[in-house]
Each structure stands twice: as C-alpha cells, then as structure tokens.
Symmetry: C2
Subunit: 325 residues, 2 copies
C-alpha cells in the first residue's frame, strides 16, 4: 500500500520530468475567501493535469522488461494523456482504449502524445474484454486511473510540493481542498501531508449530485453516485471512491465540500481574471469551495488545488461570459 516512502520514491523518479507547479495567490481572491488563499496550479502540469504524475510514477515503477512491452489504460480524459506522455517519454508503447464517441480533440490529443488509440462502441462493445485481449496478446500492463498504489504515490508528490510551498509561505495550519473523483489525488496528498505537514488537512471537493466521497466520509463506508452523467465536471465524475483510496481518505481527510456547477464556472472565471490560469470545471471545484463555502473551511488559510485545465473553449467562454463580465 502507498505510504510516504513510496511517495518519496515516486518523487525521486519524477524529478526532472514533472513540473513543480507554482502556488499562486491574489489579494482579490483572498478578499472573497475571507482568509489567506493559495492555489496549487496543477493545471500547469505536463498534459494539463496532475494525471501525468501518476502516469509517470506507474510507468517508471515497472521493471524494464515489463515496461518495454508497453502499457494500456481505459480513459477518454486526463488519465489517458498522462499515461500516453509518460510512456512516450520512456520510449515504450501505450494503448489507450476509448469510446468511439469521445470528443475528437481528446482522441487527437492522446494520439498527439504518442499513444495508439483503440476505439470501442459504448453500446455494443465490451471495454474490459477488448482491453484484456490486447493486454494478453501484447503483454501490456494495465495502468488503473486511481486504485493503484504507484498511481496514488505519483499523485502524492503534489502533496510533497504543497508541504514545502506552504512552509515557504509561512502556512503551517490549513485545509487543503482537492478536486476528488476516484480519490487518487486526494489520498496521495493526504498521505504526503500526514508525513510532511501534519497541520495541513486534505479535504475532498466535489460537484453536487456526484458527491460520493463526501457522503462516504459521512457514513464511514463507500457510497455510490446515483448517476454517471449530468455534471460539467466530467473529469472527476466516478461511480464511487476506490477500494484502496477510500480507507486512506477515511483515516486522514476532513469532511468533503460540495459545490454547484455554476460555482465551478464562477471559480474558473476568477482564476482567469486573477491568476491567469486555465482551469476546467472539475479542476475548479476546490477553488469554488474555498471561495463560495468559506463557512465550511477551518482556519486562517486555505489551499485549493486546481487539478486540471483541459476544458473546451466554448465551455471556458461560457464561464467568462457569465462571471467575468
């Protein structure tokens, strides 16, 4: 299971390859939040999301012979791009299995990062069977998006940086709000903070209606979302917390915070105006929680992770038209 030694080993493998993303701030945002506010701009990571960390960690952790045969992932989003670029930079093949109705831009981007994209029909195809057959034929290793210890270790390197950067900013006590889908990033950050900055507490942030982690933390057991579609925060919509990630969340995290889609759009517009970064809806939920639910945050400072920036131009302009006018 992932622990601080695994995270530090992942950090050593990532050194020189991952970007140490900046911790940003703005007096205008602090006025809204009513406290010191820092933004860990992980949307500036390679491939536009934190997923590159987990992808690199998992690919680099394989023994060379296994790695040389290649890796496979199921994803139409940020995980696909993270694994694809990590594999490319290691000089090994990556196969990404995507539904044939995935946005053309996402397919093109994943190919642009060097992956072979295998499409399947969502209605008639069996994704797992296709993947299993490809993996068996070619000896590919499956890289799961979050319920995989080396992926969690890679995402946890974000937490090591937060611990260092918060200390540099003189912050020793704060809630660290993290956009939460399956819980890979949140659990990794929680483990890193436990060891390196025990005054910082990780908390998941989620979109309304897809608050499985928040409800699971409330009940103490894994709860499922009633649906898988209907939020613009697609990057962090998953059926339920992972079997590996949830026990970590339960042991270490504070309560979840839930935001509306409109609050996520508003946070995107403020990040544009005040921080000059591009954040996707799912990546903006933690910033939205810090800005628009300050009564649920504890302490004199808060740190919000903006986990990704892969947003369609039309959606981005909708956010600006509504909230940056």
């Amino acid at each position: 299971m992932t622990d601080i030694r695994m995270i530090e080993a992942a950090a050593a493998r990532l050194a020189g390859h991952v970007r140490r993303t900046p911790l940003l701030s703005s007096p205008f945002l602090e006025e809204i939040a009513g406290r010191r506010l820092f933004v860990k701009a992980e949307c500036l990571q390679h491939t536009g999301s934190f997923k590159f960390r987990g992808g690199w960690s998992a690919v680099s952790a394989l023994d060379p012979e296994t790695r040389a045969r290649g890796v496979i992932a199921f994803s139409s989003g940020n995980h696909a791009q993270g694994v694809a670029l990590a594999a490319k930079l290691h000089g090994v093949p990556a196969v990404i299995v995507m539904p044939s109705d995935a946005p053309a831009l996402k397919i093109a981007n994943t190919r642009g990062f060097g992956a072979e994209v295998v499409l399947y029909d969502r209605a008639t195809g069996d994704r797992d069977a296709i993947g299993a057959q490809l993996a068996a034929e070619r000896g590919l290793t499956l890289i799961k998006p979050f319920d995989e210890p080396q992926v969690i270790a890679g995402q946890g390197t974000t937490g090591l940086e937060i611990a260092e950067q918060a200390a540099e900013a003189g912050v020793t006590q704060a809630d660290v709000l993290v956009p939460c889908g399956g819980g890979g990033l949140t659990s990794g950050i929680a483990l890193a903070l436990e060891a390196r900055a025990p005054g910082l507490r990780a908390r998941p942030a989620e979109p309304a209606g897809f608050d499985d982690a928040t409800r699971s933390l409330g009940s103490g057991q894994i709860e499922r979302n009633p649906a898988m579609t209907g939020s613009i925060c697609d990057a962090i919509v998953t059926p339920q917390p992972g079997n590996i990630t949830f026990p970590i969340l339960k042991r270490l995290c504070g309560p979840g915070i839930v935001v509306t889609d409109d609050e996520a759009l508003h946070a995107m517009a403020l990040a544009f105006l005040r921080l000059k970064i591009v954040v996707e809806p799912g990546g903006a939920v933690a910033l939205a929680a810090a800005l628009f639910h300050p009564e649920q945050v504890e302490g004199a400072a808060v740190i919000a992770v903006t986990s990704g920036g892969n947003v369609d131009p039309a959606m981005f302009c909708t956010a600006l038209e509504r909230y940056a006018g």
Copy 2:
C-alpha cells in the same frame, strides 16, 4: 546605469516577494515551432505581468524616508498595477494618474491594489502638470515605466531566472524573444543574459505597425512609431524605445521580429490549449514570433516570454473562437 550588479541587488530585494514564474513547454507547440520551445510564463507574476518586478525594485530601492512619502506613476495598464501593489506591500502610498476614459476594470483593479487613482481629462488636462503638482505637494517619487535604471534592474530579474531555468533544461544556446514596448523588459533580460547565459540572446518582438524597436535596431538610431493607437497589443505600444533602454538593446540584442495582431491572437489560443495560461495580446507577440516566424529564429531552441495576462474576457474569447475551434 543598470548592470548585472544592480540586477542581482534587485533580485535580492525581490526574493520572497516576487514569483519565480515557471518555464513551460508542450510537444504540440514544439511541433509548430520546429524546434525546442520554452515559454517563460511571466503572465503568472503578481498583478498579472512582469511590471511588478520593476515596481518592487524601484520602490524598494528608495531610501526609507523618501519611500515613506509615497510614489506616483502615469499608467492605465500593467505598470500602474505593478507599482500599486509594490507600494501597498511596502506600506507606502501610491498615486496613479490615469485618463478618465481608461477602462473601468483597470481603474478598479488599480484601486484594488491599494492605490489612489487620480483621473484627468485626456482632451483638456495636462497629465504631466497634474503629476508634477501632486509630486511637489506630497513629496512623491515618480516611478517611470521603463526609462529608469532600477525599473530595468527589476525587469532584468526575469533574465536571471531564464538563465537558471534554461540551464536546468539543458539549453545553452537560444534566442530569447521578448515582447517589447519601451524596452525595459527586453533590456533588463539582455543584461542578465549577457552576464549569466552568454549563449542566450535577447530579441524584441513587436506588433506590426508599432515596430519602433525593430526599426531602431535596424537603423542604429531611435525611430518613432507613426501612431499610438490601432493595435490590440496596447500593453506594448509606446512612441519609441527609451533613451536608457535603447543603447542596451543596440549593444546586446539580435534583430526584432514583427507579428500581426491575428498571429498574437493565434498564439493566445495555443497558450490556452497547450499551456493552460492566459496571455494578453501584447504579451503573446514573442510566442507568436516563435511559432509563426520560425525562419527568423536561429538555433535548435527558442525561449519566448509571455509578459502579461491582463486581457478582457471578450478579447480572449475572440482569440479562442478564431483559433481554438
């Protein structure tokens, strides 16, 4: 006159206050540029542009008694915000003199950074007389936008970071393209690179029709722009290179590169898609030069500074609609 010792002294005063902005890259942009391409994302600086560096450098260089009386600047743009925030963080007053028809958002932002904004009528008022009277009455020190050695020294700290970050990336030979208005940023970077990374060469980038620095470098003497309006790259439109900055440009810089407004918009859209940063038109001209005029660039690597991100949402969405569709 500004030299490397003044730049390093400015860096010491700026330490802990300025953001060390990241050096970003994307394989998609490198494919377009046809060489290794790095982007110094100075739009992520405090106040959304490099101007905070020069403002802080100038304010912090004043003797305490002079500084306590306050500072004054003439600007409706990035320099105003940089000086305002630098003064606020030093706990001293800042007066910013702006035309009364300046955009409401810019006036509000400058006030938001703690400055007193004094408006004058562009048609009937005498800006310099108003400023001189205020300065005399209150003992304020004028902070000029570029033709001022301590401002150039502050902007030059960008060059110290580029020298370090290029070395970390293994780049020892490259053109460094810099959006150029009055030449404060370009000359400061050129001085820093001369001392710390002599294989890197600064070159100004400018919008078509406002290419005073490019023409001045060509003729060897200061040339003026025929007009002061008509480009969307308003942040870098100035009448001519400065009397202090031009001799530095002439001694150290390679030839200028000129781009169209549409190329600047295209570069903004690609920075959104591939780097997840917000760049204003004037701040995007160097990236546009690297992407769309590769035949004018020398060497296997190029570094483009994106100098600011203070762009109206409508202009930003125009860029996305045209070039990120």
